[in-house]
Amino acid sequence: MKLLEYKAHEVFSAYRLPCMHGYTASTADEVKDLAGLLTYPVVIKAQVQTGGRGKAGGIQFAEDTAELLTRSTEILNMKIKDLPVHKVFIGQKVEVATEMYLSFTLDRKSKQPVLIFSTEGGVDINEIAENNPDKLAKVLIPTGPDLSDFVLQYVIDKTGLEPALQDQFRTFCRTLYTIFLEQDCLLAEINPLIVDQAGTLMALDGKIDIDDNALYRHPEIKEFRDEITDNPLVLEARSFDFLYIPIQESGNIAVISNGSGMIMSSIDLISKRGMQVTCALDLGGGATSERIAEALCIVAKNPRVDTIFINIFGGITRCDEIAGGVKNSLEYISQKRLVIRLEGTNKEIGLDILRTISGDLELVDGLYEGVDALAQGMNI
């Protein structure tokens, strides 16, 4: 779960990590209410789950209340990379002396946390790695609760961080590492990490990505989960414990399956035949006919979907429950073409149920055959 910037600042604050303080607002009226609390000049930042905000005009400054209102309204009416801006974060503008980069992330190769620091910042870390490798240090961290002195000393020596900043930097790193561990982060990034005119380090922007599987340990964060999701079908699916995955905006096929691997395989085969999947839904294991009917209704609500491919290899999931789900949802999905492949537990019972249904169900035997049928139906 990727936190919005303002939420990341809240986490930083809770750990007393120097960062931007400010207020959020979702409407022009809310901005008005804040006016009295602010010290000008201020910065207004769009709260969206994507990078490149600055270039898109999502970060602006204001010298007074009038300008604040104009700029905020402007931003709140924006879309950035197709994402509507629901919220702005407003705080005092900071005079930046230097921009740096700091992050902790998980290295999947070594299965250890990795610290990345650069005395260059404000741009994408891959750009820094390419253009200024000398100013960047990347170091694996021994698993354990503490960040050893020698790890930080190496980073300091490698990047040549100026002596006056080193003590602050050490504390900063230790705090961010504690956040990384305690909050179950996949990523805890500060970019830019700035030095202000007074020589103080501060997080001017923050990205925190928290492991979805660990959200049960962070209920105070979990409740903000839906805030960052704009797709109503994703939310609806989540409420039934399904995973709805948007694939290609331009596609017309929905894939429903009972496992991540099978979904990927289905998409791969369909794409290989020149067709396009627009969304997929993972039922997980052991879904009942009632829940399967809900799943069908959810994908059917996507106006781009004209074809639904149900591909089931049932183990815990029973084919008769799948068939029952199709039957129960028929009136809601009747406008869609249905290609169904059932394999595994209670396959024959499931097929028998489906055969009793009047309508144009296409029953196929095998994944490959299913994709073939899809292609034939589209004259591909």
Binding site: K109, T143, L186, N213, I245, G261, M262, L367
Partner: protein, 289 residues
């Protein structure tokens, strides 16, 4: 003699008193697996399906000379249960749960290495040596005994593959669910040497997917150490970037790390036969047999 589980495997089921634990214990027993004990803290002294239940793994292990354990415990209890099994020194620990926090797995992965025990999973169907024994939740009737070794991050892709094989008269030596999480207890490269050494295995099938770099690491290991033919399928070629495809581990990062192309290229360079689909795996096996 299969290398992970076999007719002489003496299995503990941690979480045996839970709904899933009991159900799959019954299935494992039906398949002929020697389930010798169950463990559920607080339920010591009871029985499930005639199998004695203990409070601790050590007691179960000592009393029944157990040499493997399978964990049917919810993800939030996985860390504790696996930690206990590792520290008790059970040589083979298979974890099933989907949804384990990645920081927990990070610690368990290193701990198992330190203690010299083998940890499989989580988010895995388990391990089966068809015709001999199984530990996990796989639908065993779709497997058949034979000479192809299979390891897979995905359960469904694996099922599809082995069932295709079975219907074509081809069986498996051992099938290992590596699991779909970001950090597996054992990686493809960790398991490859066992297939290489296994006399029952003639061909190795690796079913990978996008995300991480385990397939690339496996490719390097294959190039240097594996003499048997290897077939690989990488699922998720057409998955969008920066989007989890259901498995926590199946995600291509925004900068393209973990892409199917990178994996296929590495494997191809190592002399691995790349399959385009599960059907294609079958075709390649037939060609190589």
């Amino acid at each position: 003699m299969s290398f992970f589980i076999d007719t002489d495997t003496r299995l503990i089921v941690q979480g045996i008193t839970g709904r899933e634990g009991t159900f799959h214990t019954e299935q494992m027993l039906a398949y002929g697996t020697q389930v010798v004990a169950g463990v559920t803290p607080g339920k010591g002294g009871t029985e499930v399906l005639g199998i004695p239940v203990y409070n601790t793994v050590r007691e179960a292990q000592e009393r029944h000379d157990a040499n493997a354990t399978v964990l049917f415990v919810p993800p939030r209890f996985l860390y504790g249960a696996a930690y206990e099994a590792i520290m008790t020194g059970i040589p083979l620990i298979m974890t099933i749960a989907e949804g384990t926090p990645v920081h927990d797995m990070m610690r368990l992965h290193h701990l198992a290495k330190e203690q010299g025990v083998r940890l499989i999973g989580p988010n895995s169907f388990g391990v089966i040596s068809p015709g001999k024994a199984k530990a996990g939740f796989m639908a065993h009737r779709i497997f058949a005994e034979g000479r192809v070794g299979v390891m897979s991050r995905s359960a469904t892709n694996c099922y599809e593959t082995v069932y295709l094989m079975k219907r074509n008269g081809i069986g498996q030596s051992t099938v290992v669910g590596v699991g779909g999480d970001m950090i597996p207890g054992s990686t493809f490269a960790d398991i490859l040497p066992f297939f290489e050494a296994d006399e029952q295995t003639d061909i190795i099938v690796l079913i990978g997917e996008i995300g991480g770099s385990e397939e690339e690491i496996a490719a390097q290991y294959i190039q240097e150490h594996i003499t048997k033919p290897v077939i690989a399928l990488i699922a998720g070629k057409n998955a969008p970037k920066d989007t989890s495809m259901g498995h926590a581990g199946a995600i291509v990062s925004p900068n393209g790390e973990g892409s199917a192309e990178s994996k296929e290229t590495a494997l191809r360079t190592a002399g691995v036969h790349i399959a385009e689909s599960t059907e294609d795996i079958l075709r390649l096996i037939k060609k190589l047999l």
